[in-house]
Amino acid sequence: MIELYLNLPVWVQASLKGLIAIGLIIPIAGACSLAERKISAWIQGRPGPNRARAWGLGYIPVLGPILQRLGVFHLMADGAKFVFKEDVVPGHVNKFYYYLAPLVALVPSLCTIVVVPFGAYFDAATETLKPLILADVDVGILAVFAIGSLSVYSLILAGWASNSKYPFLGGVRASAQLISYELSRTLSVIPVFLWVNAPGPEATLSLFAVVESQSQPGFWGGMWFVFLMPLCAFVFLVALFAETNRQPFDMPESEADLVGGFHTEYGEFKWSIFFVAEYAHMTIGSGVFVLLFLGGWNPLPWVPLEPLIAGLPVWLGGLIGASVFLGKTFFFIFLFMWVRWTLPRFRYDQVMKLGWQKLLPIAIANVIFYALAIALIERA
């Protein structure tokens, strides 16, 4: 099996790996939409979707009722509905951009997986920890930011191509908001990389290196960056909420004043693509947060993964690493939903004030503080 795989041409191997990663992220995004409904119900003290029952599946003795109460069949019914509904295109839209927008939403959010490591395995031959990643490039985090920032065009295009007032307002808000928060988000990770990169000719922005530097021995080496740089983590998290258009920052949608925002004129499968893209974006954003500030695949602070899995078979070690990482990521997805169903939405002017007058100065002061502190520590 492994022989056969290794004999394939490189590009086939790469495509296979990519397809597997996409095949993982899309079910996660689907499960997120179910989790969102269940968690919102839980927070609001109601049972949530629990009625639909698929013919056949629902009558399996123990599993059937459990699946029914989890609302899994609602998810399946939703999916089937989106696929089979008639594809209505309003007459007043710009057709080319109208169809392009959902694609532009989905493609960047799936592309970012390429540079995000989602686990690690112990390579017995070299006795080192290797990342489970599609492409371990030096520009790591910058590539995530760069490709992720392209998804703003989906909102702008959807708003503009819909050719009506509310979607248009949503698109304009989206472009302003995403650009504002990009600044703080990028500034907030600078201290992390200042800390990770030792003086010398080599430097890296790879996310694997960040996790490696959180799994060193000793008090400072094993410390997760969320303890070392809580302010960075906070600014990054707030900016992440704004970048993924999650409440309390979902200005582009804000159904109270803009009907549905940028996706008012969208229905059926195109609408669901927007949502798969949003959840994929959220999943990867949470993953990046976990890698940067929560030690990636290290199970606990000061407890690195490497000695734990060193003696185990490669596949088991890899599975443990990936599970720890995914577990933390799922917690952050839960946090996204928790916040969404707890906090009210900001007003648009509040979003802009928060971004430019609060978050950005904090992020800049933070960078200066950590740059000075790290310089002093290096000198000592």
Binding site: Y97, V137, D138, V139, L142, A143, F145, A146, I147, S149, L150, V152, Y153, I156, L157, G159, W160, F168, G171, V172, S175, A176, L178, I179, E182, N197, G200, P201, E202, A203, T204, L205
Partner: protein, 172 residues
């Protein structure tokens, strides 16, 4: 493989640049510009300078073109009638034509005379992250500062020109 990709990205870049100029719809132009930037960043990747490629996408494609689109949408510019030649257009056209002539002349005169250096002999300034940063803060410190200052002046100028001041109260 690299050759095919080079031609692909080169045609993408040139084609979309032509589309930027010839499109009547400003939104189409901005999006063609976006495609062109992605093409340029693809060319950077082929040159192994991943940092520049990523910065190109991050800064220009991710933020600058989004701002362009924001402005275009805010002003709701429709292509409309293009005015016939005015005096500045004529002068600009003359200068452009002169420059093009000089370039063509140089190209014809020195055709094939361009020295091709060994790949190993070229200092990869943009390839290594730290080297790039080091160069920015040492060799190219003055140009970076000057360009930053120019951008600051441009920004202040735009604010001053676009805001309507009424009396000294607003200035404060």
């Amino acid at each position: 493989m690299a050759d095919i990709l080079f031609h692909l990205f080169a045609f993408l870049t040139i084609g979309s640049s032509v589309a930027v100029v010839y499109n009547h719809n400003a939104v189409n132009s901005a999006l063609a510009f976006l495609v062109g930037l992605v093409g340029v960043s693809g060319l950077f990747v082929l040159l192994d300078s991943f940092l520049l490629a990523v910065l190109m996408v991050l800064v220009y494609a991710g933020a600058v073109v989004a701002l362009f689109l924001f402005i275009i949408m805010l002003l709701d510019m429709q292509g409309g009638e293009r005015p016939p030649f005015s005096k500045p257009t004529a002068v600009a056209g003359l200068i452009g034509a002169a420059l093009l002539t000089v370039c063509t002349m140089t190209l014809i005169r020195n055709f094939g005379g361009l020295e091709t250096a060994e790949m190993g002999a070229i200092v990869p300034v943009g390839a290594n992250l730290k080297h790039y940063a080091d160069q920015l803060f040492t060799t190219y410190l003055l140009p970076v500062q000057v360009v930053g200052f120019l951008l600051l002046i441009a920004m202040l100028g735009v604010i001053v020109l676009s805001k309507k001041f009424e009396g000294m109260e607003d200035v404060k």
